[in-house]
Symmetry: C2
Subunit: 433 residues, 2 copies
C-alpha cells in the first residue's frame, strides 16, 4: 500500500484550519443574523432522488459518485445542496413559508481536476423558499454586503435580471431554443473580447443585425438609474419591462454603495428566472473570479416535486475557496514576513520539574479562555522552546521552582525573544489583549 489521498481531495493540516473555520463561522453567524436557520441534509442520497428530472441535469449526473449499499440500493454522494433542499421541502409539506435555510457542507463531483477545483469541496448556501417579493432577493444582496464587510473585503456586487435578458433577446427575435446559448455567450463578455463573442454568436446562427443590436444594448452605460432609464426606451416589451421593474424594486431595498446593475451578468445555470447577482473583488486585477453568486429560481423546486404547488425561491452561494484565497492575498500584502502558525495554541507551558504546578497554571489559563498546551515529553527548556517555535506558538511560559516560589513565571514572547517575570494573573491579562 502506498500512502496517498484519493485524486482531487485534500488534507487540511492544522495550519490550513486556522482561517478556514473563521470564515465558515462568520458566514454561519451572518446567515443567522439575517433570519436563516440551519438545515443539514445527509451526504449520502438515493440515486433516483438526485437524478430525477429537473434535478441536476445530465452534465452533473455524469460527475456524480455512485455506489450501492449491502442491500443493493442505488446511492450517490450529493453534488450540491439545492436538490436536497428541494427534496426536503417536498418531504415536509407542513413547512411554514417562507422557509429560510442555510446549509454549509461538503459536496462531491467526479469531474476533471484543475487548479482550485476539487472532487470534495464545501458549499455555503442560503436560500429563501416561498417568497416572490423582491424583498427576498434584496435580503440576499444585503446579506452579501454584510458578509464581505465583516470579512474586510472591498467588493462589487453585480446584479442583473434574467427576465430582462429574455426580453432583450425577444426584442431581437432570437428564438427560445437559442436563448440559453446566447446567454452563456453574454456571460463571457467579461473574460473574452467583444470580437470573440460576436464571432461565437454568429457561428451559432444569430444574424449579423441582431448581434450588432445586442452589443449596442449591452454597451449601455451610466449609473444604475441611468441604465434602467435608457433600457426602458431601448427595449420595449413586456418581459423586459418586468425585468426592469424587478431590478428597480430590488435596488430600492438595498444601499447601492457597491451594487452595480450589470447587463453582461447572466450566470450560466438554466434554472434562473429573475434577478441574478454575483460578487467580485473591486480590484479585479488581484482576483477576477467570483466570490459569491446567486439568483431567483422560481420554477426549479416545483418542477422537481411535480406537484401543483409552486415554490418561488431565491438563494446565494458563497465560495469558501476563492474567499480564502483573497484573504490570504490581502494578509500577505499587509505582513509579507509572517511566521506561519501551525497550531491554534496561544501559549506553551514549559515546566522545569514543576509539572504538577504547571497543570494548575494551565487550568487557570483555560478558565480565562486562553488556548494553552504544555510539555508532555519531559524535554529540556531549549527543546521545548524549539518545538513551540516550529509550531509558531506566539508565547511560552517557563516555570522553574524559583519562579514558582515567588509566585511568578517567565513569559517569553517568541517573536521578539523578550522575557518578563510576571504573576500568572498578569500573564493572563497580557495574553487577553
Amino acid at each position: 500500500m502506498e500512502l496517498l489521498t484519493a485524486k482531487g481531495v485534500r488534507d487540511f493540516a492544522p495550519q490550513d484550519k486556522i482561517a478556514r473555520p473563521q470564515v465558515v463561522d462568520l458566514l454561519r453567524t451572518t446567515f443567522e443574523l439575517y433570519g436563516f436557520s440551519p438545515l443539514e441534509t445527509p451526504i449520502i442520497e438515493r440515486l433516483d432522488v438526485l437524478s430525477a428530472k429537473y434535478a441536476g441535469g445530465a452534465e452533473i449526473l455524469k460527475e456524480t459518485f455512485r455506489f450501492k449499499d449491502q442491500g443493493e440500493r442505488d446511492l450517490c454522494l450529493r453534488y450540491d445542496l439545492t436538490v436536497p433542499l428541494a427534496r426536503f421541502v417536498g418531504m415536509n409539506p407542513s413547512l411554514k413559508m417562507p422557509f429560510k435555510r442555510y446549509a454549509i457542507g461538503h459536496v462531491f463531483r467526479d469531474g476533471p481536476i484543475k487548479l482550485g477545483r476539487y472532487r470534495e469541496f464545501m458549499q455555503c448556501d442560503a436560500d429563501i423558499v416561498g417568497a416572490s417579493s423582491m424583498l427576498a432577493d434584496a435580503l440576499c444582496v444585503k446579506m452579501a454586503q454584510s458578509v464581505f464587510e465583516r470579512l474586510g473585503l472591498d467588493v462589487v456586487i453585480e446584479v442583473n435580471n434574467r427576465k430582462l435578458l429574455d426580453g432583450i433577446l425577444d426584442s431581437l427575435e432570437i428564438p427560445d431554443s437559442k436563448k440559453v446559448e446566447v446567454i452563456l455567450e453574454i456571460d463571457k463578455l467579461k473574460k473574452t473580447s467583444l470580437q470573440e463573442v460576436k464571432k461565437e454568436l454568429k457561428s451559432k446562427g444569430i444574424d449579423n443585425d441582431a448581434v450588432e443590436r445586442l452589443m449596442k444594448i449591452l454597451a449601455t452605460e451610466g449609473s444604475n438609474i441611468a441604465k434602467l432609464e435608457a433600457l426602458k426606451t431601448l427595449v420595449n416589451n413586456r418581459t423586459a419591462a418586468d425585468g426592469l421593474k424587478e431590478i428597480e424594486q430590488m435596488l430600492s431595498f438595498v444601499d447601492e454603495r457597491n451594487v452595480v446593475f450589470s447587463l453582461c451578468l447572466s450566470r450560466g445555470l438554466a434554472y434562473y428566472t429573475g434577478p441574478v447577482f454575483e460578487v467580485f473583488l473591486r480590484d479585479s486585477r488581484k482576483f477576477s473570479s467570483s466570490l459569491a453568486g446567486g439568483g431567483r429560481y422560481d420554477k426549479m423546486i416545483g418542477s422537481y416535486l411535480r406537484g401543483t404547488k409552486e415554490f418561488p425561491a431565491v438563494g446565494i452561494s458563497f465560495g469558501i475557496e476563492p474567499i480564502l484565497t483573497v484573504l490570504e492575498l490581502q494578509r500577505a500584502e499587509k505582513e509579507p514576513k509572517n511566521t506561519q502558525r501551525k497550531t491554534v495554541t496561544e501559549v506553551f507551558v514549559v515546566p522545569i520539574r514543576t509539572t504538577a504546578a504547571c497543570l494548575k497554571i494551565c487550568d487557570r489559563l483555560r478558565n480565562a479562555d486562553i488556548k494553552c498546551d504544555l510539555d508532555i515529553m519531559e524535554r529540556g527548556v531549549s527543546k521545548n522552546l524549539e518545538y513551540a517555535n516550529t509550531l509558531g506558538i506566539p508565547f511560552c511560559i517557563i516555570a522553574g521552582e524559583n519562579e514558582l516560589k515567588s509566585k511568578t513565571v517567565k513569559l517569553k514572547d517568541m517573536e521578539s525573544g523578550t522575557e518578563e517575570t510576571l504573576t500568572v494573573d498578569a500573564v493572563i491579562k497580557k495574553l487577553k489583549k
Copy 2:
C-alpha cells in the same frame, strides 16, 4: 421517483440544528483550550489505504461503502477518523511530535440500522501522537472533565488499564489467543449478570478455577487507592505491575473527584495497549450508554505504517448523539412544557406599511448581534404573528406609522403575550439580556 432519504441517514431540520452545533462548538472550543489543533481529512479515501492491514479490520471493512471514480480507481467513504490520522502522520514525516489533533466529521458505515445507529454519523476525536507519558492520558481525562462540566452534565469517568487486565489474565494462565475474547466478556459485566458472564467464559473453554479467581479479582472494592493497593498483592506479575503503575501515574495528574478506577472496564477494541477510559452519566438509570471513551494505542499507527518508527498514541472520542440525548432528557425534566423553537431567529419584525423603515431597524438589530427576520410576504399583522408563533420565535416587533413617528416600536413577548412600546435602543437592550 418517491421522495425518500437513503436508508440509515437523516435530515436535521432547523429545530434539530439548535442544540447540535452548540455541542460541537463547545467540543471544538474545549479541544483548542487543551492544545489540540484541528485536522481535516477527506471523506473520500482510497480503498487500499483504508483496508490495509492494521487499519480497521475485517468487521469494519464489510461495512465500508465502496465505489469507483470515472478513472476506475477504487475508493471508499471513511469509516472512522483514526485510520486517516495514521495515514496523515505517515504522509507527513516532518510533523513535530507530539502531534495533538482533533477532528470532527462525518463517518460512514454500511451496517445494520438500530435505534440510535446510523449509516452516516459524526465523530469527535482528540488524539495525541508521539507521547508515551501518562501526562498525555491524564490530559485526555482532564479534558473530558472539562467538557462535561461545561455541558452541565454530572458524569463518572471510569478508568482502567489493558496492561493490568493482561497481567491478570497471565496470572490465571489464560492463553494469549483467548485474551481478547475474555476481555470482551469482562466488558459485559456492567450489562449482564455475573452468572451469564461466567457461563460464557466457561463455554469459551476457560476453566472453572480461573473463572472463579478472575471474578474474585474483578470484585475488588474500595476507593481508587484501596483498589490499587489490594491488586498489588492479588496479582503479582510484571505486566500487571506496569499497568498498576500507569494507573497511579495517570491519576496523580488529575483531580479524582469523578474518576473511578473500574476493573471491569475494558473497551472492546483490540488495539488498546494501556489506559482505557469511558464516561457515563452518574445517574445511570437515566442513561446507561457511554458518552465518551478512549485509551492508549501505542502499536496501531506504527504497525499500520510498517516503518521502523514507533508512534505511541492516546485519544478520546466524544459521542454527539448520546450527549444530545442526555441534554434533551435534562432539558425536558427542567421545562416539561416547552414551545419548541424551529428557528434560531430571536425576533421577527412585522412592518405595517413601513418596510423601508423596518429594513433599517433590522440593520440596527443585526449590528447588535441579534438574530432577526422580517416579513417578506407583505402579510397582515395577525398572519405574521401566527408565522412567528409557529416557528417558536420568542419576540416580535410591530412597527406601524404612528409608532415610527414617535420613534418607537411595539415589542411583543410571544410567550406571555405582553406588549410594550419602546424605542429600538430599548428593544436592543432588552433582547440582549
